[in-house]
Amino acid sequence: MVNSKQLSLELTLLVFIMSLFVIGVGIFGFIKIRESNNSSKELYTDRILPMDQLADIRFYTSNIIATARQIDGKKIAYNDALRKIVQSQDSIRINWKKYQKSYLTDQEKQLALNAKIQIDKSDRAIERLKLALKKEDANLLDSILKNELYPNLNLVVIEVSNLLRLQVKIGEAINQNNDSNYKTYTSEIIWIILIAFGFAVPFLYYLIKKNSAIVNNLKLNKAKLFLTEKNYRNLIEYAGEAILILNEETEIIDLNEEACTLFGYTREELLNINISELVPSDEIEKQAEDVALIRKDKFAQISRKIKRKDGSFIQTEISNRSMDGKGFFAILRDVTARKNAEEVIKKSEEKYRYLFDNNPAYIIIWDLETLEVLEINNAVLCKYGYSKEEWSRMSVLDYRPKEDYSKIEEFAKYMLVHDDPIVTRNWSHYKKNGDKMIMEIASHKIDYNNRKAILSLANDVTMQIKAEEKLKQSEEKHRVLTENISDAILLLDKEGKILYQSPSAERISGYSFEDVKEKSITEFLVSDELFRGQLFLKEILENPNMPKQNQFRINHKKGHEIWIEGTAINLLENESVKAIILNYRDVTDNKIFENELIRYNSELKKTNAELDRFVYSASHDLRAPLKSMLGLIYVTKECADPEDSELHERLAMLNNSVGKLDDFIEDILHYSRNARMGLDKDEINFGKIIEEIKGSHKFIEGIKGVQFHVEISSSGLFVSDYRRLGVVLNNLLSNALKYRDVSKEKSFVNIIIRSDKTNAVIVVEDNGVGIANNDKEKIFEMFYRATTLSSGSGLGLYIVKEALEKLEGTINVESEQDKGTKFIVEIPNQISNLN
C-alpha cells in the first residue's frame, strides 16, 4: 500500500517551506519598497521644495533688480515700483523662512548663513529704497540703487544660486544611492529565490521518487496475475499458515486471515501499517539485513521475533521468497513454544559448559576406546601448558609417565565393560615443560557425544604430598636429632620441674627420665650453685623468648660433679611448646682443660716475669764486676807511667776484652727484651735519639777522627717503639764506627732520616771496610761474624732484624768491600695506632 499519509505530510511540508520562502521574499520586498518611498519623500521635501523656494527667492530678487532698473530708467512710476518691490520683498521673506525650516546639511547651513547675511543687508537696502520711493527723492534713489541695492542684491543672487547648485548635487547623490540600493535588493531577491529552488528541487525529486510507489502498487495486480488469480487466492487463504505479500518497498500489499490472527490486527490495519511496527525495535536492523539477503539469494528461511498489536512478542520462523522485483512472499510460523524449549536447553547447556570451563578442578574427558582426549576445561589448559590445538591431538597417555601406560590401558578396558561408581586415586601427570605433578583424580564414566568416555576430575596434590613428605622427613629428622645429638634437651614447666628429657640427657647426667620426672631442675645442682641456679631460673622466667646462656655444675648420678653449659629459653607462652627449653652439653672436659689453661697461663706469666727479673739481675750482676774491672783498668792507666808502653798496651787489651764481654751481655739483654716485650708507641725525636747514641759511643778509641753527618727531615709526628728503634740505630751506628777503614785518610758516617705520616726511611752510610758479597745474605743471622775485624757477639744485626720485625719494618744493605756500607731501614709510622 502506498503510504498516502506520509506523502501528504511531505507535500504539506514542501508547500509550507515554499510559502515561507515566498512570504519572506514579499516581506523583504515590502520593506525595501518602503525604504525607497521614504527616500523619494525625503528627496521631495528636503530637496525639491527648497529648490522651488530658492528659485522663488532668486526670481523675486531679480524682479526687484529689474524694477530698480526700471526706476533708474524712469520707465516705471514710483508707486508702481514700490508696490512691485513690496510684493517681491514679502515673497523673498516667506520663501526664505520656509527654506530655513527645511532639512539642511552642514554644507548647506554654512552657505545659508552667508546668504542670510546678504539677504538681511538687501532687506535693509530695500527698506531704504522703499522710503526713498515714498519720498520720491530721485537723488537719494539714485544713490541707494547704485551703492546699496545692486551690489547687495547681486550677491544674494549669487549666494542663492550657490545653494541651488548644492541642492542639485545632493539630489543627484541621493538618486545615485537609490539606484545602487535597487541593484543590491534585486540581486538579494534573486539569491533567495535561487536558494528556495535549491531546497525545493531535491525535495520534489524525492517526492516524485516516493510516489513511484503508487505506480508500484499497480504492480500487485501483475503479481497476482503471475500466480493466476484463483491459485493465488487459494494459496493465500488456505495455506493454513500466515502469509504476507510485500511490495519491493516491504510494504504489506496483501495478507490472509492467519496473518491477522498471528499479528492480532485487522486486515485493514495491517494493510496500512508500516512493517517496522511489526518488528521489535531491537531487531529492525537485523530485518533490514535479512531483506537485503533475500533480495540477493531470492529465498531465505529466517527466524524472527515479531510484535503483536497487544504488545506481546512471538517467535516466528519465516520462509521468504523474493518475487523477482515484484515484491516478497512470506510464510510465517509461530515457533514461540519450540523456541522457548530450545532456549531452556541452550541455557542449561551453557550453564554446564560454564561450570565445565570455569571449574577450578582440572577436568579432562577422554574416550575409553581410543584414549583420545575429547574435552578439557580452562583449568587444564592453564595448568598443563599445552595449547587447545595440541590437546585436540593428544591421547590420555601423552601426559603421563611411560610406566603408567599399561595401567591406564587396563583401567580403560575395565571401565569400558563395567559401570563402577566413581574411582579416586593418585596419578602422575607431566606438564608440557616436563614438571611432574601428582594429581588426585576422580574418574566418572559418562556418555559423551554417544561415546563411552571418562570424565576425570583432578586436583593437584603435588604440594600437599611434598609437604606431607617433608613433614614426615622433618619429624624423622627431629626424632633422630633429639635422640642422637650429644646435646641434652630438657623441657621444664614454670616451676622448673622437668617435663621431658632427651635420651642424651641420661648419657650426660646418668639419670633416666624416670629419675628426674617431675623433679625440680635445681635439685641436681651442686649445693653451692643452688643460689645462682635459682637466680638464673628467675631471670629466664622474667624474659620470655630470650635465649640465655650459662654454665653450672651438677651432680652426676654416680656422685661426681660435672660441668654443663647450655642455653635456656622461656617458651611458656608459645602455644605449641608451653615449656622452658634447656639444651646443654657436658663441658666437664672443656672446663678442666680451661682451668688448666688458665693455670698454665698464669704460671707462664709468672715464669716470664721471673725470667725478666732474672735476665735483668743476671745481666746486672754479670755486668757490675765488668764495670768495676773497666774502672780499675781506667784508674790504673791514669796512674801508670806514660812511658811504660808495654803496660799501656796490656791495659788496652784488657780493656777491650772486658768491653767485648760487656757488649755481649748487653746484646743478650736486648735480644731477650725484644723477644718478650710488647710494642711501645712513643713519639720519636730522631735528633735526640741520634745524639744519645753518639754520646754512648764517645769513649770508643779513635772515634774523634770520624766525621758524622746527620740529616733529619721530619714532617709531622712520628710514632714507633723508642727502645727498639734505639737498639736498631745503636747497632747500625756502632757497626759503622767499629768497622771503619783505618787505612782510609778520613772515615765518615752519614745518617739520613726522612719521616712522614706513613713511614720513616733511615739510611746509615759509611766508608768503612764494607761487606763481601757472599756475606751479605748472612750478616743478619744469629752469631754470624763476617769479618775477622769483628769483635762483637755476632748478635748485633740479628737483633736489628728481630727488632725491625717487631716494628714491622724492613732493612736492606748495599755494600762494596773496601768502599763502604749503606744500610737502609724503613719503618712504618704507628701514629694511627696511637691511643
Binding site: 735483668y616 739481675s617 746486672h620 750482676d621 755486668r623 757490675a624 765488668l626 764495670k627 768495676s628 773497666l630 774502672g631 780499675l632 781506667y634 784508674v635 791514669e638 748487653e666 754512648s696 769513649f699 727502645r723 734505639g726
Partner: protein
Amino acid sequence: MKVKNILLIDDNEIDNYVNNHIITKSKIAEKITVKKSAMAALEYLKNTEGGTVEFPELIFLDISMPVMDGFGFLEEIIKFPQTIEKQCAVVMLSSSDNPNDIKRAMNFEVVIDFFTKPLRIEMIEKLAEKGNL
C-alpha cells in the same frame, strides 16, 4: 768551684776505690765520704744535723745494693730538709743502662744525671761544665 762534701754510696768496694780515686783526681771536692750501703749513708746524713759534719752537696749513688737499693735511698733523702737547703744533687752511678732504671731515677727532681759505670774524669768534667758543681 769546689764542692765541700761529696758522698759516694756503693756496696762494691772496688767501685768505691775507683770512683774515689777519680773524684779525688778531678779535684772538685774538698772532702769525699764513702758509704757502703744506703742505710749507712742515711745514718751518716742524720748525723749531719748536729752540725759536726757538712751535709753533702753532691751524692754519687749506685742503684743495685742489698737491703735498700738506690731508689729506696732516693725516697728517703728527699725527706731531709737539708736536701733543699743545701741544694743537694744526686748523680746516679750504676752499671745498668736499663732505660727503665734511667727513667725511674730521672723522675726524682734531686737526680741531675745518670752515669753508667765506669766513671771517667770526662764525666765529672761534663758535670762541672753544666754548672752542677
